[in-house]
């Protein structure tokens, strides 16, 4: 742990089925209830039992934007965790483990080896009991008063009855006392702040953002790492009056959502890249019929089934090119869970205004990460703007759904409204909605339709914020990222500063529309621009080049399934500055 601000990383490792989530949740909740910030990343595999799970929870007095570069304490639940991670621990760290079943290896100097004889302490045959013992010992090492943990365990297990509470408090206390007696606590005790924070996973932030935006219809098919959005909606559907459907496939999900949206309901779906591939035809349908919908693609490592539990920024070109034909769409890649929450209502207002599909790119890093959030920063009543939506009956006839207006946007009436009967169609159509694709095609009308749909977006750049350069203008290096890498880049800039290198950064969020001029200005005045991407081929760079003509030959790319840690980027920037590499691919130290 560095001197200065409290910044501590705790990891819990074991195999699927060993119940890592429970101690993780207990500790995370304990941290936020002390007003501490946290950022948690869970490395896991697509397996229900077995494999290796490694949950890292970083906690600090200050906001933390990644799970960090180093660990202070590991709670080992199996031998595998010990074998994989012990070698990564440095000075003034601890490793806790059940000495009944786990043999420690040779740790580096300064690593506190902390064996706990779990069966001797608990006389329990419950396999999961070692987790609670570990939590007790952890609290002791972190200098927490036991009463705080007792309160937290009581709340956690209250629903399962007093005997479960008693058992857990009892064994936690045994672990706590054993650690206090036998191991050296960390020199700085866990601080506290009276202002309680909240926590959420990115997928929950997506669900909450949608609820705040007024989404009343959500349909989806389960697919990692997007399934948490479905779970959030399912859990809250009845309280919030939201229709939630798990349907037969992503094709149904996307098209149902368009059907719901056509009747005037705000509707959304979320999936991962493979499911989004099935939704692509629907993207064009929404564009052609001009029905506002939002589809979220929570990216994972591809192609195809790929690595279902690992992260990647690999679907930018998929969403750019989704669906046949030539039409505008909105694409946004929010940069954090809170940004995700705020962006969902924003994009709903935009798609309602422009009557078009809006695509949101998340990824496993944001969606399945757990983050602290200040409850005061969560605005559940954002501005809602439905655009030109007709819901009042009329006695006048002659409504043209696709009126060739100057702005390109034609007022939209929903079924059930008197006086506005029309058909929306995926075939090319005239202003009144009648087909111009079958019996008599009409090149003049076709051209007018294409131009009107394109014209709708002529003022779009004014409606979304341009990315802004953060940090000193004359920095030695400019790190350019997009979407979820903001946290890692932000901390990499700090790390570079510690190492004596001045850096600034530009995080691009809106892919379409792309603020080409703003980005070009930054790139053109940068001393050394480096693009940072969580993919192999530089998808964002190639897109930026196609839109701006800019060529940038310095890159940091990672495509091993694990997210960037700040030092990966800082190391890369230094290698590039030293002329040792043009494209730097960081080495992932831990095999999880």
């Amino acid at each position: 742990m560095a001197a200065g601000k409290f910044d501590f990383a705790l990891a819990i490792g074991g195999e699927a089925g060993q119940g890592i989530a429970t101690p993780g949740n207990i500790m995370a909740r304990l941290f936020i209830r002390r007003g501490l910030h946290l950022n948690a990343y869970n490395a896991y595999q697509s397996i229900v039992r077995g494999g290796h799970i490694f949950l890292t929870i970083r906690v600090s007095e200050e906001p933390v934007y990644t799970h960090g570069d180093k660990l202070d304490l590991i709670v080992c639940l199996n031998q595998d965790t010990m074998d994989r991670h012990l070698g990564l621990l440095g000075d003034d760290t601890r490793i806790l483990f059940n000495s009944d079943t786990i043999t420690p290896g040779e740790g580096a100097k300064g690593v506190g080896i902390c064996p706990i004889p779990v069966s001797e302490l608990t006389q329990s045959r419950n396999r999961l009991i070692q987790n609670t013992v570990g939590v007790g010992a952890t609290c002791s090492l972190m200098g927490l008063d036991f009463s705080i943990l007792e309160e937290s365990l009581t709340a956690r297990f209250a629903r399962q009855g007093q005997s479960v509470v008693d058992e857990n408090v009892g064994v936690a206390k045994a672990g706590y006392e054993y650690a206090a007696k036998n191991f050296e606590a960390f020199p700085v005790a866990l601080p506290g702040n009276p202002h309680h924070l909240a926590q959420w996973a990115g997928n929950e932030a997506i669900g909450m953002g949608a609820a705040a935006a007024g989404v009343k219809f959500y349909a989806a098919y389960p697919m990692s790492p997007s399934t948490g959005v479905l779970h959030w909606f399912a859990q809250n559907a009845r309280d919030l009056g939201i229709m939630v459907r798990q349907v037969e496939d992503e094709i149904a999900a996307a098209n149902m959502v368009i059907g719901a949206a056509q009747t005037g309901t705000r509707a959304m779906t979320a999936t991962s890249g493979g499911g989004f591939a099935l939704m692509t035809e629907a993207v064009g349908a929404a564009a052609m019929m001009e029905i506002p919908v939002v589809m979220v693609n929570v990216q994972r490592a591809g192609p195809s089934t790929g690595v279902p539990t690992k992260t990647e920024q690999g679907d930018l070109w998929q969403v750019l090119g989704a669906s046949q034909g030539d039409f505008p769409r909105l694409i946004v890649a929010p940069t954090s869970a809170l940004d995700m929450f705020n962006t969902i209502p924003e994009i709903f207002n935009l798609v309602d205004h422009y009557q078009c599909p809006g695509l949101v790119l998340s990824d496993l890093l944001i969606s399945e990460g757990t983050f602290s959030v200040d409850p005061d920063a969560i605005n559940m009543n954002p501005t809602i703007d439905r655009g030109e939506l007709i819901t009042e009956d009329s006695t006048q006839n002659g409504y043209n759904r696709y009126q060739n207006t100057e702005s390109g946007i034609a007022p939209r009436a929903v079924p059930g409204t008197k006086g506005y009967i029309h058909v929306v169609s995926t075939d090319e159509h005239d202003e009144d909605g009648s087909l111009i694709s079958d019996e008599f095609t009409n090149p003049y009308k076709r051209r007018a339709s294409v131009e009107r749909r394109a014209r709708k977006f002529s003022d779009i750049l004014e409606r979304v914020a341009a990315p802004e350069l953060q940090g000193p203008k004359d920095a030695e290096v400019t790190l350019i990222g997009w979407g979820s890498s903001e946290g890692a880049i932000r901390e990499a800039v700090e790390l570079l500063e510690d190492r004596g290198v001045t850096a600034n950064r530009l995080q691009v969020k809106w892919m379409v529309p792309l603020h080409s001029d703003a980005i070009s200005a930054v790139v053109n005045s940068a001393k050394c621009a480096i693009i940072v991407e969580n993919n192999h081929s530089g998808q964002f760079y190639r897109y930026l080049r196609s839109e701006t003509g800019l060529t940038i030959d310095k890159h940091i790319r990672k495509y091993d399934g694990e997210p960037f840690m700040p030092h990966h980027i800082a190391d890369g920037a230094q290698e590039i500055l030293a002329g040792k590499a043009d494209t730097f691919v960081p080495y992932q130290e831990v095999n999880v």
Binding site: I32, R33, L197, A198, Q199, M208, A213, G214, K216, F217, A219, N236, A237, R238, D239, L240, G241, M243, V244, V247, E248, D249, I251, A252, N255, M256, V257, I258, G259, A260, A261, Q262, T263, G264, T265, A267, E281, A282, A285, M289, V373, P375, M380, N381, I384, V414, P415, G416, T417, K418, Y420, I421, V423, V424, S425, T426, G433, L435, D438, E439
Partner: protein, 294 residues
């Protein structure tokens, strides 16, 4: 469903656009029957939403005076389900062909049936792909020669009626577009039914399927209504549905009298259609959500 406003005639449900179907196409009879059914049920055009996929018959929403969605090939039931669940005050009627519904859209048919969404699905079954100029469809007979099976079809057709019953559909009927009065009655029953209804209608293609012509059906169709068929008996329904020879049965094969639609099972819809809800969430709801996060 009946409203107090002016009674409309079948002709009031014409859209003003003339169908581009081939002269003699069976789909004219289906359109006609649907317009009559809407008029006889006292429906108002703005309260109806017709949703189709892609194919000759899927052009139907353009020809009926109602709100319409002319969507993607095979996906009409997904769009229709979303629309119905979003605004259950609408009468939602999905229409399309056999390729659209039983081929590319087959998965949605199975699941919309078991989900029992309160929509009526009218399939104009001509046992061939017409708009793509003559290939086999999932209901084409064995040995049928088409452009994609020049030496004869070696695949067996599916039976939409038994498939729908097995999938859990709660109103399953077959009609023949040459008998408009009977088809109208079947469609009316389907619209009135609370739950998912499939109406498979023989709608002969005069251009690409000369085997299953108007005359072919005229000679063979026999009404279940004349046969003391028990519509609550799904096994008997399946037996009647697979008869295919000198007698081909039409009529209502199966209806679940206790059908409860998805909308009726979903408490979220108790407060009225989603589409007319106030957007945003209340302070109490916010408090509860934030409470769980802390």
């Amino acid at each position: 469903m009946t409203t107090g406003t002016i009674e409309l005639k079948a002709s009031d449900f014409k859209s003003g656009i003339n169908p581009d179907w081939c002269p003699g196409c069976g789909d004219f009879g289906v359109l006609n029957s649907l317009q009559r059914a809407c008029a006889e049920l006292g429906l108002q055009p703005h309260q109806i939403l017709t949703v189709s996929g892609i194919g000759c018959s899927s052009n139907l929403p353009g020809y009926i005076n109602s709100y319409g969605m002319h969507t993607l090939h095979g996906r009409s039931l997904a769009f229709a389900s979303g629309a119905k669940l979003s605004n259950h005050d609408l009468t939602v009627i999905a229409t399309g062909g056999d390729g659209d519904g039983y081929g590319i859209g087959g998965n949605h048919l199975t699941h919309t049936a078991r989900r029992n969404v309160d929509i009526t699905y009218i399939v104009m079954n001509n046992q061939v792909y017409g708009l793509t100029t003559g290939q086999i469809s999932p209901t084409s007979r064995l040995d049928m020669k088409t452009k994609s099976t020049p030496f004869g079809n070696v695949e067996s057709p599916i039976n939409p009626i038994t498939s729908a019953i097995m999938s859990g559909a709660t109103y399953v009927a077959r009609a023949f577009s040459g008998d408009i009065r009977h088809t109208t009655a079947i469609i009316k029953g389907a619209i009135e039914h609370k739950g998912f209804s499939l109406v498979d209608i023989f709608s002969p293609c005069v251009t690409f399927n000369l085997d299953n012509s108007n005359d072919f059906f005229k000679e063979r169709v026999t009404k279940l209504e004349d046969q003391n068929h028990d519509i609550g008996d799904w096994k008997a329904a399946c037996e009647k549905a697979i008869e295919w020879g000198s007698t081909i049965n039409i009529g209502l094969f199966y209806q679940d009298p206790d059908s409860k639609s998805l909308g009726a099972r979903e408490p979220v819809l108790n407060d009225g259609p989603l589409s007319s809800r106030t957007l945003g969430i209340t302070e109490d709801q916010t408090k509860k959500l934030l409470g769980r996060m802390m």
